[in-house]
Symmetry: C2
Subunit: 208 residues, 2 copies
């Protein structure tokens, strides 16, 4: 059984509401920071503007991520030596930015994450393993962006993997993607399942 | 326990020696055709010439693969409804060519496989799922070749995945790659392990 509760904290001048999920038992467990998709904000224009602000200022994005990571680390059940960040869409970008910022993560995983950054030189600070899971036809993460990411990770000496999924576009993990009603945003069951397995494989490697 | 024995058959005007490996028990099991690396031939010039011949003539390559697949299918323990082909280096190319030739494979997996073909239009004939596992710095499978492969698979409507492994070059699965003593050919333990797991994940999907 897993117990969940809301948890609030301050970051970037506002109150954030996270959800903490803890398995039964007493022992410490790996702490996984899960960064949600952009549509956590309901208003699309507000969302795009906010994402734009953070993409232009990775240090600000990293500070938000670190605030969440600090909250997770403060939990008594969290094993601080076994941290990872995963995220979806802009949340995936956030998990990668956390890694670029030198956060002590064993793994950073981005599902249909924007892979670009204005600070590619910071890849040298990445200490954990990086896994990017991208739809081949994702218009938001086009081929050129994947290629720049490969070059960035290689130049930074990172232990990285990129999986490209045929037939998938953006938001392939989001069963409600159709509600967003935009081209290039669509749920894709096989890719949802396979990318989750790829993440579990990496967790098995770094946590066991 | 697994029992192995050599098995010989005729193909392409010569006698081929394959190795059959069968698990204990009586029931039928999935049949996996394993296509070896180019250096199955000891003489390098002869090897490169032979590979060149087959790359120029995919139909001839497919005929060789099909001959092996027929031998596998003739075995009483083989479940003919659960076939896959995997291969390494040129053997990976062969497994992909088998798929392009319309062989009844549930999966075709290429480890550091040459991804190019002179008959990309045949991708439409692929019935199974395709998985390509490539080192990011493989000089034999450069970025442009990966991109052409993505386009070929997408145009063919294939269920495909491509995993790119940072830090890996060609022959990352071959513990004796150093003996080959060529630049861009090197064993890479994490990628060997991860690519094997990726193949097992696909087998779990198509065979269970």
């Amino acid at each position: 059984m897993v117990t969940t509760r809301d948890i609030s904290y301050e970051a970037d001048g506002r109150t954030m509401i996270g959800m903490l999920a803890v398995p039964d038992g007493d022992g410490r467990r790996p702490g996984i920071l899960v960064c949600h998709e952009g549509p956590g904000l309901d208003d699309r224009e507000q969302m795009m503007a906010r994402i734009g602000e953070f993409r232009a200022d990775p240090l600000r994005a990293r500070a938000v991520g670190l605030a969440g990571l600090d909250v997770l680390c403060a939990e008594p059940r969290t094993d601080r030596d076994k941290l990872a960040a995963i995220g979806y869409c802009f949340g995936g970008t956030l998990s990668l930015e956390l890694a670029r910022g030198g956060a002590d993560l064993k793994a950073a995983v981005g599902f249909h994450a924007g892979l670009g950054t204005t600070r590619p030189e910071d890849a040298r600070a990445i200490t954990g393993k990086v896994l990017a899971l991208i739809g081949a036809d994702d218009p938001i993460v086009p081929h050129e962006q994947r290629r720049a990411f490969e070059e960035e990770m290689t130049a930074g000496g990172v232990d990285w993997q990129l999986v490209v999924y045929g037939g998938a576009v953006h938001s392939f993990t989001n069963e409600r993607a159709a509600n967003i009603d935009l081209p290039g945003i669509e749920y894709h069951e096989p890719t949802d399942r396979r990318s989750w397995q790829a993440m579990l494989d990496l967790f098995a490697e770094v946590f066991e």
